[in-house]
């Protein structure tokens, strides 16, 4: 069971050498099984302990299953517990033997002692063997009605376990309704909390195939229920409180008074000793006041102190999680935290990841009043022993300078860094000085004087070297030595490994040439020659380009290479505000710690190259990860079919779907409604593929052919050149964003959505699944009724040409506004038609 590596790491004395011990155990257990001698329980206990310890170490002891069950007839509760533990661990692998345990577990479920009843019930549900579910229903039902609350809490969770083993059995026995009754009436709060947890999970998973379940799920957010929980919140255990607060955060109050009522009720939760409760409360506060700007600000003021206390108390692990949330809030509203900047000062012995978060916050809260102190503090870190930290703090200083506060003093500081004569400090500073000069050209005189003194031999890092070379080129008229430094760099062209540096070198020597031709001419010649001989394609191309440009006309070349530059006013932010908003919506979740919205790490395609456990799908609650795999995707679409199908006419695929009778929904824009003679041939080709069962619509086409449907069907409407899409299109969000920025909008249209579609659009997920059936994948979605926003993408089947769509659906006006961007502009009209037809079928099927 255990990977061999682990077993070797620390051989403990209790570890047996081989199979011999296990068979020994087996024999001893067998001896004890029938015995009723006094003291037999003690020897059984020793044996059980041995079995369990083997199991814990990772040795397979499933072979003693039968003996363990035989020995389980005992009144000793510790023996029972060990036996339950053993059975729970191995039943799944031995379904036949598990049947043996049912008997004694069922008997224990009727024991006098509530503790034993509860434990037996828990073990019974933990067997998780599908063909034994029939034995679960009875004990679970009586467990729910048990007089003891301990048994009821176990039974409620047991029902959830049953649901995961066999959803049908659970629903047929009407357990969800019983749970609901229990949730509303039980005196014990732990039972209520467990009911809530179980129902949330069951109804969320059921919602996709049952109207009633999705109604019930909505009902969990109804006013009476929310108030029922809120009024009793202090009676719940701290963990149950977090659960309830999570639910409340999703509730939409009807008016402002209600919001204030809820906040007043929950205010003291902010001082709870459990950090999970505090964060869940903060989430409720933030969500409730999203639409009320001034109150939202007050909420920030109110939650500041509890968050800061949470950071300074507790273990380092807890403070990291809290700090990540604080980081998010600071980034959203830096002004509100500007007076608390001292809290973000780094302690010497904090781990680097904490320091990094703190540095980012320090950078964000800097303003006129505190910049001086913050920068002074950051300069302390630059002299720190910790090199990565020193680098980060220099970068932070630079970022603050770019925020335009107190630039004068900061430039002085940065220049002092250059005088510290430490390689890494110099390197980081050079990169920053370059950025600063691009924004504040007026500082060039001061900077150049210092930069000019740096020997290029002391700068090794490619980024820093490139920055230095850029400055040499840009300010060559002011730097006396510039041409000569460049010349010496070009002499060492062969030793320069970074292509980035070589590219910069080419450009810099060009710029220098325009300003000081006689001194640079030789260097330029050498550089161009070296560049032309370079093995790196970009360097080679650039050298060639410059060469031809110079050959053509020197003045034109100057206009191209060294035009007058405008100062950069704002540097692009790396994280878009949209992503930040999404992370904020997912407050108090892993998203905040990873600084990524959940779709980037919970959706299958973003999870990186590793294969994920196949069981994941059934597990997710409320996330859309569960339904990303449409069966059609597993069938390898035959490229040939798709190629042929492009010449055919579009056909209503609702018909194909109904005739198919399954959820199969590969793109079906290929089946002919009427078949002109010229197309018969291609249909015949379809015939072969249809026989192989890949495309059901194609087999329909065969029916049409053979059934002499030729003359019966009416002539089709003139169709656009049709387009087939890749059902397995993949695009990562980064590329999507990049493309979305780069491409122009090729089409903007407004479609109407059918009333059925609007009705089906309770959550964005419904439309996602539908569109996926039409090979249009969703990359991001959000919003709440009445406005939903989606980003879709699709790929052409035979080439990697992408279509990107932004779609805003307004459910009250039943309109969808669609913006389409495409790699191939000429196809965007076609795609738009396709998109419209897919959208119009939403909810109709």
């Amino acid at each position: 069971m255990a990977p061999p590596g682990q077993a070797q790491r620390s051989p403990s004395p209790s570890q047996p050498s081989g199979k011999g011990e296990v068979s020994d155990l087996k024999a001893q257990l067998r001896q004890l099984a029938g015995s009723r001698a006094p003291g037999v329980d003690d020897s059984k206990r020793d044996l059980f302990k041995k079995v369990i310890s083997y199991m814990t170490v990772g040795i397979d002891v499933s072979s003693v299953f039968g003996e363990m069950v035989m020995c389980s007839a005992t009144s000793d509760i510790v023996l029972k517990k060990m036996c339950y533990l053993y059975v729970g661990n191995y039943a799944k692998g031995n379904p036949d033997l598990a049947l043996l345990t049912i008997n004694f577990l069922q008997r224990d479920c009727k024991d006098e002692d509530p503790m034993i009843r509860g434990l037996a019930l828990r073990s019974l549900c933990s067997l998780r063997v599908a063909n034994l579910v029939e034995y679960l229903v009875g004990p679970l039902g009586s467990g729910l009605r048990d007089g003891n609350s301990y048994v009821r809490t176990v039974a409620v969770i047991g029902i959830l376990k049953l649901y995961h083993i066999s959803a049908v059995t659970c629903i047929d026995a009407d357990f969800p309704a019983m749970l609901k009754r229990l949730m509303l009436n039980d005196p014990d709060t732990q039972v209520i909390a467990n009911c809530l947890a179980a129902l949330q999970e069951i109804w969320t998973l059921e919602a996709s195939n049952s109207e009633e379940a999705s109604r019930e799920r909505e009902a969990l957010l109804s006013k009476p229920l929310i108030y029922y929980f809120l009024n009793r919140i202090k009676e719940f255990s701290e963990w149950a409180q977090s659960l309830v607060l999570e639910l409340v955060a999703k509730y939409v109050p009807s008016d402002n008074n209600e919001i204030f009522d809820i906040m007043n009720l929950l205010e003291d939760r902010l001082q709870h000793a459990n950090g999970a409760v505090v964060l869940a409360t903060i989430k409720v506060f933030l969500q409730l006041t999203l639409s009320m700007n001034d109150v939202h600000q007050q909420v920030y003021e109110r939650i500041k102190a509890p968050l800061l206390t949470l950071v300074s108390s507790g273990s380092p692990e807890q403070s990291y999680a809290v700090l990540s949330h604080l980081h998010l809030l600071v980034m959203r509203a830096p002004i509100l935290f500007s007076s608390d900047y001292k809290h973000f000062y780094c302690q010497y012995n904090e781990p680097f990841y904490v320091k990094k978060l703190k540095l980012e916050m320090l950078t964000a809260v800097a303003n006129e009043s505190n910049t001086y102190e913050i920068v002074t503090e950051l300069c302390e870190y630059a002299a720190n022993v910790d090199i990565p930290m020193a680098r980060e703090s220099i970068r932070a200083v630079g970022k603050i300078a770019l925020q335009q506060y107190d630039v004068n003093a900061i430039v002085d500081r940065l220049l002092q860094f250059l005088e510290m004569e430490k390689d890494y400090v110099t390197a980081e500073t050079l990169v920053l000085v370059k950025d600063l000069l691009r924004k504040y050209p007026q500082w060039s005189q001061d900077c150049i004087a210092v930069v000019g003194n740096i020997s290029s031999k002391n700068v090794q890092e490619p980024k820093a070297k490139a920055a230095l070379i850029w400055m040499l080129g840009e300010y060559s008229q002011d730097m006396h030595d510039a041409p000569y430094i460049l010349e010496s760099l070009i002499e060492n062209w062969e030793d320069e490994h970074s292509s980035e540096v070589r590219l910069h070198l080419l450009t810099a020597v060009m710029k220098c040439f325009f300003k000081r031709p006689p001194e640079t001419q030789k260097a330029l010649g050498d550089a161009l020659a070296a560049g032309l001989a370079d093995f790196h394609q970009d360097v080679h191309d650039r050298a060639l380009f410059y060469y031809r440009l110079l050959q053509y006309n020197v003045t034109v070349a100057e206009r191209v290479v060294n035009p007058p530059k405008q100062a950069v006013s704002v540097f692009a932010d790396t994280q878009s505000s949209e992503i930040k908003d999404r992370i904020f919506d997912e407050f108090n979740s892993l998203s905040v710690v990873y600084q990524k919205p959940s779709y980037m790490f919970t959706d299958k395609e973003h999870r990186g190259p590793f294969e994920f456990s196949d069981e994941l799908g059934n597990l997710s609650i409320g996330a859309d990860a569960a339904d990303t795999v449409v069966p059609a995707h597993q069938v390898d679409a035959n490229d040939k079919d798709l190629l042929l199908s492009t010449s055919e006419t579009e056909k209503e695929d609702g018909r194909a779907l109904s005739s198919n009778g399954s959820a199969y929904s590969a793109p079906l824009y290929d089946a002919p409604a009427s078949v002109p003679a010229s197309q018969i041939q291609s249909d015949l080709v379809n015939l072969t593929s249809g026989l192989s069962g890949h495309v059901p619509a194609a087999s329909l086409a065969i029916d049409d052919l053979l059934g002499l449907g030729l003359s019966v069907t009416p002539a089709p409407a003139p169709s656009p050149p049709s387009l087939s899409l890749n059902p397995k299109a993949v695009l990562d969000p980064g590329t999507f964003q990049q493309k979305w920025r780069q491409l122009p909008i090729s089409l903007t249209q407004e479609f109407s959505v059918s009333p059925q579609g609007i009705a089906a659009l309770i959550t964005p997920q419904a439309l996602l699944r539908h569109m996926q059936g039409h090979s249009i994948q969703c990359i991001a979605s959000g919003g709440q009724s009445p406005n939903f926003k989606f980003f879709f993408f699709a790929q052409k089947a035979e080439e990697s040409s992408n279509f990107l769509v932004e779609c805003i659906v307004n459910t009250s006006s039943a309109k969808a506004q669609v913006k389409i961007k495409a790699d191939d502009q000429s196809m965007s009209q076609t795609f738009s038609t396709l998109f419209q037809s897919a959208l119009s079928k939403f909810g109709v099927q």
Partner: protein, 413 residues
Amino acid sequence: MLQCIFLLSDSGEVMLEKQLTGHRVDRSICAWYWDHAISQGDQLQPVIASPTHYLFQIVREGITFLACSQVEMPPLMGIEFLCRVADVLADYLGGLNEDVIKDNFVIVYELMDEMIDNGFPLTTEPNILREMIAAPNIVSKMLSVVTGNSSNVNETLPAATALCVPWRTSDPKYANNEVYVDLVEEMDAVINRDGTLVKCEIYGEVQVNSHLSGLPDLTLSFANPSILDDMRFHPCVRYRPWESHQILSFVPPDGQFRLMSYRVRKLKSIPLYLKPQLTSDAGTCRLSLLVGMRNDPGKTVDSIDVQFQLPPCVSTADLSSNCGTVNILSNKTCSWSIGRIPKDKTPSLSGTLVLEPGLQRLHVFPTFQLGFRIMGIALSGLQIDKLDLKNLPHRPYKGFRALTRAGHYEVRA
């Protein structure tokens, strides 16, 4: 929703595995984690995305508590829960180490069974757990020898679950009723090279140890509650009296617990000073440190020590002091333990650092961490006014103590 909890020893061996849901988590995740942990060193984050699971980890006394989840969940819930598991185990087993967990793994399994079911935390209240599963202490061992009943499971279910004060054992009885209230404060301070105070604040806790019979009702009030900046309370504290009169009114749990934690910001005075001096000259660096009282708190300051990391460019160091002992460890950590400051002299440490060849002067400077302990005073100035007890048959014994120690108290050079 957690799927599985592993306990790993300090060599990466799986000591215990508790599967919580039907979706078994394979042990190979531990091997992945261990490799990751080694590659990250001390930069390991508490929340990690592995290729297959999201992992929460905390490390206590060399034991790694690792929890796996595959779905989005509140991160603090995972971490807080693991912290509680660690606390409860340490409490039960009288400390945490590899052997004690291996010896008592049955109890650990039993505890986990009651603390979490199907991934949802149930109860982590030590008092309730104690009533369900007896701790393996000497008394129960004695009992089992005497009575012959060696079960560590209590016969009855805890009555407290049904009570309105779930944190309290149903009806404890003591011959000597006593309650102790301790103010424990930690001072965090950052002092710059020129002696200016960059930041100074105190994190404090009110710790109560209560051995009281029946169902007592306590009220604790402070002489100067207005100095507190922010506080957090044990669930037993009633909020209304605090909001209106700044009075802590509560029914205490049995035994030791943390009644309240608080923060006091913007303090102006620190008890000790440390003056570092570093002068470089031709490949060597002369270091001298002076430690002394800055503002006398009126009580003895003891357990004074200074710790610092020598910069990596220092090849050898020769340090000596006029009182206390100086140790330089192999990882270039230097510790100077002074104890109490003698009356007749100011503790000083001096010596030379030899830099690596080629370096003329020191570029990076160490940060000095100062440790101390002051008994009998809370440096924030917080004072307990009085403690009233109601609902008790006899007059109990009341005890008060205060203690301040250094938290992150650092001086930059």
